[in-house]
């Protein structure tokens, strides 16, 4: 297979075969993934890190960056394996097993590479990486991209936007929780219950984006 043929496979949608980029559609995907179908607040993906890592603004940003990074790589890996390996060999039912293995080994690999080449970045992101393997947002975006039959380009855009949406929710939550420390919360609702109530109010705010971007 020549290089250009390979490239055209990668860019074109697997089902329809029409290549190229549609800027309007891309914007719609970005806005949908960040605001309308925000991964945390409307799709309920990645709730565990959302609650666990949202106590400090710094760690929220670190976790968000790690998620965007791994999400993009995981999408690249899972899309390629699915469309170039599993579909031609008619093994699509192995999707779940293949994806989780890709994600787990990718996280491991990223951790090792970062440790070797960028100790500073490893210091910043390192503690979040093992948590990411079992973050359902990562597997979620990989599966969603396949279900939506996005081409590789759209899949990557969707993954990055979903990661940004996750980071946005996480950072907003961290800011609110830092304020919440000083608030006078009824004793019964201290801790997790009030975190969920705050998330609910944020989710109502994000409902306002419904219908945006088609």
């Amino acid at each position: 297979m020549s290089g250009s043929a390979l490239l055209s496979i990668l860019i074109s949608a697997p089902e329809t075969g029409n290549g190229g980029f549609d800027l309007g559609r891309m914007m719609a995907i970005i806005i949908a993934a960040i605001f309308v179908n925000n991964f945390v607040l409307s799709r309920f993906l990645g709730i565990c890190p959302f609650l666990g890592v949202s106590k400090q603004l710094d760690s929220a940003l670190g976790m968000g960056a790690a998620v965007i990074f791994v999400m993009t790589l995981a999408t690249l890996g899972s899309w390629t394996v699915y469309n170039l390996l599993l579909v031609p060999m008619e093994l699509t039912y192995l999707r779940t097993i293949a994806f989780i293995l890709i994600i787990a080994s990718l996280v491991q690999l990223v951790e090792m590479i970062l440790q070797k080449f960028s100790p500073a970045l490893y210091q910043a992101l390192g503690i979040f990486l093992p948590l990411i393997t079992t973050n359902c947002a990562i597997l979620g975006v990989a599966v969603l991209n396949i279900d939506e039959k996005y081409s590789l380009g759209y899949s990557l855009v969707n993954a990055i936007a979903a990661g940004i949406g996750f980071t946005l929710a996480l950072v907003l939550m961290a800011g609110l929780r830092q304020r919440l420390e000083l608030a006078d919360v009824p004793p019964a609702l201290k801790g997790k219950p009030v975190a969920f109530l705050v998330a609910g109010v944020m989710s109502i705010a994000f409902l306002g984006f419904a219908g945006l971007g088609g």
Partner: protein, 202 residues
């Protein structure tokens, strides 16, 4: 009767949702109706029982360095099985649960029980633990789903409870995403009051 203790642990004392706050994503996402909650609960319980059984059976064979990848492969195998069976026999339920069926793989309850219980305990008590945890997870989902379906749709398990007048103008937010967060917040608050009462009585 330690087997009985293993069985009942997950149902109340260490309920995965209300006490340990594990497995939140599918819990919040599929509790829009009691029917979905039961379907999801059954699927997760099946995977939990099978994976605990196999992990416990192989606990002396799996080298501890590669145990997590092994557990993930075991769990993913059963999830694929459930996915295919549900797709074949209950396609409507399969469609409404959507991506949360493949996402059972990353449900922290299942990996948590494999790592925290099944790899150190014999087969029988691991299965008992899995049944208890699965039932606890399902019951917790039914509780939240009951509130959401009743308030948001006026029904319970598709049976009309609050009448057509309410159904024409339901509290729609309970079924939408915010309702899950807010109702769960109140339920957790209720449990923490219960806990405090019990602590005060001692």
């Amino acid at each position: 009767m330690s087997l009985m203790k293993d069985l009942t642990r997950g149902i109340y004392r260490e309920n995965p949702i209300f006490k340990l706050a594990l497995g939140m994503c599918p819990f919040l996402a599929v509790t829009t109706s009691v029917e979905n909650a039961i379907g999801m609960g059954a699927a997760a319980t099946f995977v939990l029982i099978c994976s605990n059984f196999l992990v416990s059976l192989l606990r002396n064979l799996i080298p501890s360095k590669v145990r997590i990848p092994c557990y993930i492969v075991i769990i993913a195998t059963f999830v694929t099985l459930v996915d295919m069976v549900m797709n074949a026999y209950v396609p409507d339920l399969h469609r409404s649960l959507g991506i949360f069926i493949p996402l059972i793989v990353v449900n922290c309850i299942i990996l948590g029980r494999a790592e925290g219980f099944a790899n150190r305990h014999p087969v029988m008590s691991s299965v008992a633990d899995a049944v208890g945890m699965g039932v606890g997870f399902t019951l917790a989902m039914i509780v939240l789903a009951s509130f959401r379906e009743l308030l948001g749709n006026g029904t319970w398990l598709n049976i009309s409870i609050l009448g057509t007048a309410y159904r024409n103008q339901p509290l729609l937010i309970a079924i939408l995403a915010p309702g899950a967060f807010i109702l769960l917040g109140f339920i957790l608050g209720f449990f923490s009051i219960l806990e405090k009462r019990r602590g005060g009585g001692r």
